[in-house]
Symmetry: C2
Subunit: 206 residues, 2 copies
């Protein structure tokens, strides 16, 4: 194998790049040869940014989002409503909700969803810490903002059961027709939910 | 911008990853979050392999393929026929020809093709060194193995003109129907060429 690329250095880089999700050996080779054609400083900047990120990034003590400080920018922002907690699967989902600019509360990042098939149980997720956070009594609403999949539903239900006895309002994201989508191409389950949970025209259409 | 990802370390890694060809910011974020979930040693191995490859890889003095030694494994192999030189565009093409296991000669990597639209002239390619190599008198055949594109044809013709006065046989790759392709879906130019350059059945069909 080592002879395939005429250089074990190239071979190594291709092997490491192809460990990334969605990148096969062919793409990895294309990326490596691209880096070889570019200035040495570019490869160094890329390599160092990856190592530095992995070594130095830490997690927010409160919401478990990535953070460079003990509390992330959201959790340390006094202008945000700390009594409303939006429960999300991942760091990426926090970025998605922040982009909407529609949420002024704080987050709780689970770090995954319950998925027996993948061997992920409640213990591997930040669910105990959520229960603890809500038990403090300072939380008035928990918004379950997980994906509308079987794993998301399972996790929603598990959290609902764990929080059931605490005096907190538990809500979940509205399920309905996506903005911009045509009725014709919306599946019947979504359409049925959107009918059941219809909202008053005057308040919802802005 | 820096606030988009809650961490400038993540931001940096995403920016550097998205400089790679075919990788946008969305994919770069996915790769970065993947690395954050994996062991620290994996990110370090990736980062270091990239830096090491770019800093330490050098080029073969004879054929300009990548190499860790002064002469690449192909050029230093005495069992190969050093009088037959296969002219290719890139390091990747050498890998492609080596995979065929059909070529026992040596290579000459041009490092690109003549492309006036992209501002690439003959001076930026390893053409002078090819002429020099052939001028030594030790080369009996030069195989032009460039892509069947306008840039490939232009480069072929330019090299043909430059080598024209030297006592060397100049050949090019056969153009014809790809193995596994149906006649119905082969374009007429290729089909015409495959008819003109037909070969004796007994020798070519193995």
């Amino acid at each position: 194998m080592e002879q395939e690329y005429a250089s074990s250095l190239l071979e190594n880089a291709v092997t490491e790049l192809s460990r990334l999700p969605g990148i096969g050996r062919k793409t990895a080779l294309r990326l490596a040869l691209h880096l070889l054609r570019r200035d040495s400083s570019e490869a160094r900047a890329l390599g160092e940014s990856i190592i530095k990120m992995r070594d130095e990034i830490s997690y927010c003590r409160s919401c478990h989002n990535i953070s460079e400080t003990e509390l992330c920018p959201v959790c340390s922002d006094v202008r945000r409503d700390h009594s409303v907690v939006c429960v999300v699967e991942s760091v990426r989902d926090v970025i998605c909700f922040e982009r909407t600019r529609q949420f002024s509360g704080v987050y709780h990042v689970l770090g995954g969803l319950i998925s027996p098939l993948d061997g992920i149980g409640p213990d591997q997720l930040e669910i105990d810490s959520l229960v603890e956070r809500v038990s403090s009594g300072e939380i008035s609403e928990v918004i379950l903002a997980l994906s509308a999949t079987m794993e998301g539903d399972t996790t929603n239900f598990y959290i609902y059961r764990r929080l059931g006895t605490l005096p907190v309002r538990i809500t979940q994201l509205a399920r309905g027709v996506s903005v911009g989508n045509e009725i014709e191409y919306t599946d019947e389950v979504t359409l049925g939910r959107s009918l059941l949970n219809r909202t008053d025209f005057a308040t919802s259409s802005r």
